[in-house]
Structures are given as C-alpha cells and as structure tokens.
C-alpha cells in the first residue's frame, strides 16, 4: 500500500484525489475475492465453479459502480474505504457460498442457500451508498435532522419489541413476503447522527460546567441527564430485546462521542462504571445473558448440557483446527457449528479455512477501515463531521470487537453480525450506507478549501501523521 503513504490529511491546493489508487485497490479487492470463490469451487468439486463469471462480474460491477459514484460525487474521498469494504464483502460472499455447499447444511430441513440473496443485498447496499453520495452533498445537512433522527432511531429500536423473538433475541421485525429486517443496524447510523448533532450543541455546557473532585471533573447533576437517559435506554434494550450487542454498541458509541465532544476523561470513567453496573445488574436476573457468560467462562464444561456452551466450544474448535495456515477454503469442517455458521459465526470459518494468517489479515482489514474512519474524523473541519465520523467508526470498531471477541471467546458472545462478511441483509446494507457517510465526510475534509479560512481545529489537524 505504498501508494498512500504520503497522505497529509488535508491536501494542499490541487491535492491528489487518489481516485486511481482507489481503482487499483478495487481491482485487487475484486481479484482476491474471485480467487477465493474459485478456490472454494476447486476444493469442493475439483473444478472452477460455474457461477464464477457471474459472481466475478457482479462483484466487479458493484465495486465499479461504487468507484464511479465516488469519482463523480465525492472526488476527494478516502481511497481505502471503498476497496476495503468491497474486499470484505467479496470474501464474505465467497465464504457464504462455500457454506451453502456444505452437505451437512443441505441435509437439514429448512436449508436455504444464502449466497445469491447476499449478493442482492450487497447490490442494494452499494445502491444505498450511491444514493447517500448523490443525495448528501454535504454531511452537515444531517445536522438539521438531529431530533428527527432521535425519534426515528427510537422508533426503529423499539419496533422489534412488538415482534416475536428469534433465537432468544428480539431484534428482528418480520415483514410478510419480504423477509426480516434488523432495524438496529440502521438505528446505529441514525443514532450517531443524533448524538453528533446533540453533542455539538451541548458540548460546551457539558465540558465546562463541572466541579473538580479527586482529579476528575464531575459533571453537574443536570448535565448527567443525557448520559443517564442513553444508559437507561441501553438497559431497556438489553432487558426487553435481550440484545446484549446492540446495548453495548449504543452505550459505547455514546461514551466515545461524549468524550470526544467534551474532552473530559471523567465521562469515560462514568461510562465504564455505568456499563459495568448495568451489565452486572442485568446479568443477575436475565437468564439469556447468564447463559452467555457461563458459556464464555468454560465452553467445554457445558458440552451436552447448554446449547450456548456447545456452540461456543464448537466455534473455538473450528479456530483451533485451522491452525496457522488453515485447511484451505472449502476443506474445513466449520459447518459443524451448525446454527448461524454463516452469520454470527462466520469468522470461525475464516479461522478454520484461512487459518491464523487469514484471520489476522481480515482483522487488520477491519482495523484499517476503523483507522480510515478515525483519520476522517481527525481531518474533518467541522465538529459535527468529526463527531459523526468518530461515532460511526467507533461503533464499527466496537461492533467488530464485540463480534470477533465473542466468537473467539475473548468476551461473552452477543448476537451481532460481522460487518460486510456475515450473511444478513440489514447488516450489509446499513454498513454500506455507513461507508457512504464516511466517504462523504472524508471528501469534504480532504477537498481543497475554496477559501483559506483556517479554523483552530484545522490548524492542529495539519500536523497529524498516521
């Protein structure tokens, strides 16, 4: 990736747009994915898969459209985000297709192949990305919708409570004939807009009006209101939707944004204390959460007794069986995990078939996306853009950590999907939209300023190096 080493985050006049770099990387991303797809076919059937041309063209088309849209509507946007997302999406498709070929799954009663559906969802996702770039000429427009965002996000989060639980968690809504939607994935983005708008306005009040106590700046009682509300809301999600992941995600995102907005470490301390209190409190009486914790503490102990433990143990064994280099795509037995092998547990397949090497590469790709997001936040010239970018990339990082840490047994498992890789329409569509917004912010940030009106923030960001 030597082509991008010389990137001062704010370009001078005539800053390079890096669009050709993006195109090059995109070619790599598509080529790697097609190679993975061919690999699966060769391993399973000894021949190149018949759908390879369609898959390759489809992915190339998606990447190409995304690239063209960026070239046209966000010329100065970050060149890495789009290829990285395409790579993950393409790899995910190959692995989902690989799991579709599993005889174990095909023998089950309600087996439905997921790869072609996932390709449609990916297309919808990229379409949404184009719409974001097209419709959102400037991310600051979103600022106008701060409180509407709040209402929409609340609505989306509360909605699943009225639908039956699926596999123990109420995070889906079912639309007859269309399938299921996980509104939480979309709420994640919308709520980031609300937090960014709200905190931008309130940041001074939250930051300055405080008392010092034991080295910490304690916020005033009434300023505690918002964080208490978000906290309470997270707990409600946890209790009523038994969705540990989303609860953690929203609260974590809020604390991160609050900290960035106020520059007060005390908020982090409060955040950690409150999430600890909330988690312990809920775990004390919520059997769903208790099971997850038991399964996390000793997965093999619960073998044959607790489904959650067994699932966890199976996931760990898949990782262990992969070893350093993995079995090779299509040659492992990660389908032994059974339930949710191609969604929540898809990383286990990556671990088993691509090995430690493949897992580290995939984790680093996620890390790079987060890094580009944070860099966008640093480069953004307006506080709203900064907050929104850090909110989105922070929540992305937390989600990756929570899911990957969950399936690897680092933390208790929560029901969330791995962005881009896992099968799931809502997730892939929402994450493409997230990338769209980040692209928009980075385009604004990197675009040569029309008039030199340096703000204090911009002055500081110029010296930032990776």
């Amino acid at each position: 990736m030597s082509v991008v080493t010389n990137t001062t985050t704010i370009g001078a006049i005539d800053a390079p747009s890096r669009r050709n770099t993006e195109l090059m990387l995109m070619v790599f991303a598509v080529a790697i994915s097609v190679f993975a797809y061919a690999n699966v076919g060769l391993a399973l059937n000894g021949e190149l898969p018949s759908g390879m041309l369609g898959y390759g063209l489809g992915l190339a088309l998606l990447g190409g459209i995304g690239h063209l849209a960026v070239r046209k509507f966000a010329r100065y946007a970050d060149p890495l985000l789009l290829p990285l997302a395409t790579l993950l999406n393409g790899l995910g498709l190959a692995i989902i297709w690989r799991l579709d070929q599993s005889e174990r799954f095909q023998a089950t009663e309600n087996f439905v192949p997921a790869a072609s559906k996932q390709l449609v969802f990916s297309a919808l996702g990229v379409a949404l990305l184009v719409v974001v770039l097209l419709a959102l000429k400037d991310h600051r427009i979103l600022q106008r919708y701060t409180y509407i965002s709040m209402l929409v996000a609340l609505f989306l989060l509360i909605l699943p409570m009225f639908f039956p639980a699926v596999n123990g968690a109420k995070i889906w809504i079912k639309i007859p004939g269309l399938g299921t939607i996980q509104p939480g994935e979309f709420a994640k983005i919308i709520i980031a807009v609300f937090f960014a708008g709200y905190l931008m306005v309130k940041r001074d009040a939250l930051a300055l009006a405080s008392r010092r106590f034991m080295g910490l700046y304690l916020p005033r009682g009434r300023d505690l209101g918002p964080i208490l509300m978000v906290w309470a809301f997270s707990i409600l999600i946890l209790v009523f939707e038994t969705d540990l992941g989303s609860s953690l995600l929203f609260f974590g995102m809020f604390v991160v944004m609050l900290y960035v907005a106020t520059e007060r470490t005390s908020w982090i301390v409060f955040g950690l204390l409150m999430s600890a209190a909330g988690a312990v409190g809920v775990a004390a009486f919520e059997p769903h959460v208790q099971q997850r914790v038991t399964a996390w503490l000793d997965p093999f102990d619960g073998w044959g007794k607790l489904a959650a433990s067994e699932q966890m143990a199976k996931s760990l064994m898949a990782f262990g069986s992969g070893g350093t280099l993995g079995t090779g795509l299509g040659q492992g037995n990660s389908d032994l995990i059974g339930f949710a092998a191609n969604s929540d547990f898809i990383l286990a397949t990556v671990g088993e078939e691509l090995g430690l090497a493949g897992m580290m590469a995939v984790l680093l790709v996620y890390g790079l996306i987060v890094e580009r997001g944070v860099r966008t936040a640093l480069a953004a010239r307006d506080p709203f853009g900064k907050l929104l970018a850090i909110g989105l990339s922070g929540s992305f990082a937390i989600q990756v950590f929570v899911v990957a840490g969950g399936v690897m047994g680092l933390i208790p498992l929560t029901g969330m999907t791995m962005p881009f890789v896992a099968a799931g329409g809502s997730s892939v569509i929402a994450n493409w939209a997230l990338i769209g917004i980040l692209l928009r912010i980075s385009d604004t940030a990197r675009r040569p300023a029309p008039a030199p009106a340096p703000s204090p923030d911009a002055e500081m960001t110029q010296v930032v190096r990776p």
Binding site: E103, R104, V256, Y259, V260, A261, E263, F300, W303, A313, K314, L316, M317, F319, G320, S321, G322, G323, T324, N333, L336, G351, G355, L356, M359, M360, L363, L364, Y366, G367, V370, E371, V374, R375, A377, L378, P383, K386, L387, I390, S393, G394, A397, I398, V400, F401, A404, G405, M408, G409, L410, D457, M460, T461, V464
Partner: protein, 485 residues
C-alpha cells in the same frame, strides 16, 4: 477535539490488538489442544476421510475399507471373515473408536503417524491421494483357519507361536464377533454392539489374550522346569522322593491324583506322562513359593505382555504352603492366558530361550515402502538348553505314550502336556480342557501352541485336555508344518 480523537484512535487500535492477540492464542498456542479435543468431531472425520490401510496376513489383507454414503465419515472398515480375525485385528468403528491392532497401529492405518511424515510431505507435491499404510502381521492363515474350524461352536481359545522367533501364528477366540456389524455410526450399528455387549457368552472378549484360566496340569511343565533349574532333580528318569498318598502341607487332606496311577516315587518323565499331582505338588512345596514365582516370572507370568496388543498378566501368586503346592499343579490362584501357556511350550521347544511374542512383522507406508521391520528379541531364558532338552523328552513321552496321544502327527516329533483345570466352588463347574504342545522338525521347532476349551455343554468326563484340546492343537501344528512345505 483532536486530542480525544487520537486517544479514541489508540483505543480502537487496542481493541484490534486484543483481537489479534486472542486469535494467535487460539490458533497458534491452543491449536493442538483444540484440534485434539474429545468433542472435536474433526478428529473422527479425519480418521475416516481416507481409505484406511489394511492388516495383512500371508500377503492378503484381512480387512478392507469401503466408501459409505449419508454420513460425514467417508470410509468404513470391513473385514474378510471378521469373527475369525477379530481377536487379531480388534475393531475399528466410526462411532465406537477402535481396539487392539486397529487402535495401536491407528497412526499407520490412517496415514497420520509421524513415521509417515516424509511420505506425506512427498505426496503433498506429487498430489497422490492420501491413504493409510499397512500392517503386515506374523499370523499364519492356514493355522488360524484350522484353529477356528476345530474350535467350532465350542467356547475357547487358541494361541500359537513360532518358538524360534516369537512370531504369533494363531490367535483365535470363540465365540467371536464380526467387527463389521458395528463399524459404522448408524443406529443399527449401535444396536448390534449393544447386542454383543449383552451376550452372556462375551463374544467380544479376546480369550487368547485377555482371559486368564487356571492352567491345570499344563503348568506342571513350568514346575518340572523349576525342579530341573533349581537342581532338585537332575535326571528325569531317576526316582523322585514322592510318597503316595501325599498330605498337603499344613492341612489334614491328601492331594489326590486322577485315578489310580503309578505316582509313588515316579520319575519326572513318568510323573509328567501320567500327570501326577502328588509329584508336582510336592516339587512346588519342596522348592517353596519364591522359587516357583521366580521360575514362573521367567516364563512371563505376573506381567502384561505386549504383542503389541496387550495380553493380561498371568498370575503365579505369593501364597501359603498348601496353596503354593496347589498352584504348582496349576490350581489354586494360579491363572494363565492361552498366550502365556503357548509361551511356556515355545520356551521349552526353543531349547530354553523364550522369544518376545509379537504379531506385527512390518509396517508399510501407503506406497508399500517398509518403514519398520520387527527384529526378533529374546524375552528371557527360563531354563538352560540342557534342561530344556530333558523337558522336551518328557513332553514327547506324554504324546508318544501318555495322556496326549491324540496330538501325534506322523513323521513329526511332537511334545505336549494335557491339562484339566477344575474351577468353580468345590469344582462344581465344568473343568477347562487344556493342551499345550510343540512340533519339531529337522530345522528346530516351527510351532508351539496352547489350546483351552471351556465348553459347558460337554460331559464332565469328556473334558480332558487329551480328548477335547489335543486334536485342535494337532490341527494347528499340522497346518503350520504343511504351510512351510
């Protein structure tokens, strides 16, 4: 706002770092442990993913491997004449693991053994399909068939050894079982196995290696060896100091002989020919418990024998005087496996040198390269060459004109000893019929054999080593001699 942003960036970096550390921990540090976990079905899948190597007897495989459908285990083990070979091969089941050779040599048979590392690495480049290696056994199919046929419906076991090398030639246990019936992992397989486990005749018990019987009069060979080795008697035709009746020491009862036989002060040769309890009981008592134990140990008693399949330890126990005297004629707490008694006959036949019994002659890599050949190895020397030859004369007299005439083979020198071991409370149950023997040709002894028959259907009077067991031993010896021609 950039200072906290940078801190958040570091925080995100730490999250990713934590994941990287964790994935290294899982996939590098704990990989082997997780891979070998008892719940990891991949272990079984891998075991049956390739054609399993074969167990070979006389150049022909007695096992096979067939492809199966409807299971994630691709290949299933099959046997050619399973009941006959089960005591040799053991079983290898998709659902119930493996036993005996199938288990011990699993690494070679699956092709996963470290010994095959080079071979495997090579086939990685040549792209050859992975298969298992073969185990070449020492068994003699003609002798095995003869023993299996002769035992027929009777309950019992036969073990035969080549005395000069220790190679196991026959290993039969009846009633037997067909390991094929539960080689798969279906419900039917599980039921078939349950049926076998519930069977009160214990068909899955390998009587040749894993059942110890009172050896009865066949043990008198060991007692005679002890007498000669300890210099109690030097000439086998000299009179022994053996009163009749002889009172069992420290008791009020006499040790009885089977019928009215000439045992008073009988020579060793005559005593063995007539199978005198009084003579050998007294020898055991004269020598004492410790000397008897020492001699029995040299023959292989009191330890497990690995062929490499484990044979239970035969027992010559520490005991009080009367019990020791009884043990000297193969009663009391004296217990021996058929393999053990074959070893006794083999040691005598091989001029006192007992060879380590073994059944794996070679291990072959999948490409048939021999990666291991057994080197014959002496187990012990229970008696000197001179004494061994004396004992041979005694045992040959038994077959010539004693209790073992049923084992005579025209043109071949045969030495043997019958045994009728009583068991059960007050000898209430049918005794076991024993026969141990060896054959001798110009080039030394090619075969030593032990036969035990525990047939509860037979008439008590019929169960005598000479009547029931000797013909079986004869058939086995004849088969071995014929196959060498």
């Amino acid at each position: 706002m950039n200072k906290p942003l940078r801190r958040i960036a570091i925080f995100c970096g730490l999250l990713v770092l934590a994941l990287l550390v964790r994935v290294n921990w899982l996939q590098y540090v704990r990989a082997d442990e997780l891979n070998a976990n008892e719940h990891n079905r991949r272990v079984q899948i891998e075991r049956y993913a390739h054609e399993r190597g074969n167990i070979i007897v006389d150049g022909n495989p007695v096992t096979g491997s067939v492809e199966t459908k409807g299971s994630d285990f691709k290949y299933k083990r099959v046997w050619k004449n399973g009941p006959m070979w089960a005591p040799v091969t053991g079983y290898s089941s998709q659902a119930f693991d493996a036993s005996q050779l199938e288990s011990i040599e699993d690494g070679i048979l699956t092709g996963n053994s470290d010994q095959l590392f080079f071979d495997r690495t090579l086939s990685l480049f040549t792209g050859e399909k992975k298969t298992g290696g073969n185990i070449v056994t020492t068994l003699n199919s003609a002798a095995q068939k003869a023993a299996f046929k002769e035992l027929g419906n009777k309950k019992g076991a036969v073990a035969a050894i080549d005395p000069q090398t220790g190679a196991i030639l026959t290993l039969v246990s009846t009633p037997s079982y067909d390991p094929s019936v539960f080689a798969g992992n279906s419900l039917k397989d599980a039921e078939a196995r349950q049926q076998l486990l519930k069977d009160k005749d214990k068909p899955m018990l390998n009587r040749a290696l894993r059942e110890t019987y009172p050896p009865g009069s066949t043990f008198k060979v060991v007692t005679a060896a002890a007498a000669l080795e300890n210099g109690l008697y030097k000439d086998i035709d000299d009179k022994t100091n053996s009163p009749l009746p002889w009172r069992l020491p420290l008791t009020t009862g006499n040790l009885a002989n089977e019928g009215n036989i000439p045992c008073e002060n009988a020579s060793l040769r005559e005593a063995l020919r007539w199978s005198c309890n009084t003579v050998f009981g007294k020898i055991s008592d004269d020598l004492g418990n410790q000397k008897m134990i020492d001699e029995a140990d040299k023959f292989g008693f009191n330890e497990e024998i690995f062929t490499p399949v484990r044979a239970d330890a035969s027992v010559y126990p520490k005991d009080n005087r009367p019990q020791n005297a009884m043990a000297g004629i193969g009663q009391a707490s004296n217990r021996a496996t058929p393999l053990q008694m074959a070893m006794v006959a083999a040691a005598v036949a091989n001029d006192g040198k007992l060879m380590q019994p073994y059944m794996v002659a070679e291990r072959q890599a999948p490409n048939l390269d021999v990666i291991y050949t057994h080197e014959k190895e002496q187990f012990s020397q229970p008696l000197s060459g001179e004494n061994a030859q004396k004992l041979q004369q005694m045992m040959e007299t038994v077959v010539e004109n004693g209790t073992g005439t049923n084992a005579r083979i025209p043109g071949v020198t045969v030495g043997g000893k019958t045994g009728t071991a009583q068991h059960g409370l007050n000898n209430s149950e049918n005794p076991y019929a024993w026969f141990i023997s060896y054959a001798k040709t110009d080039s030394g002894s090619p075969v030593a054999v032990a036969v035990v028959v525990e047939d509860s259907q037979a008439n008590r009077d019929d169960i005598s080593g000479g009547g029931l067991a000797a013909p079986i031993a004869k058939a086995v010896m004849k088969a071995v001699i014929d196959s060498k021609k």
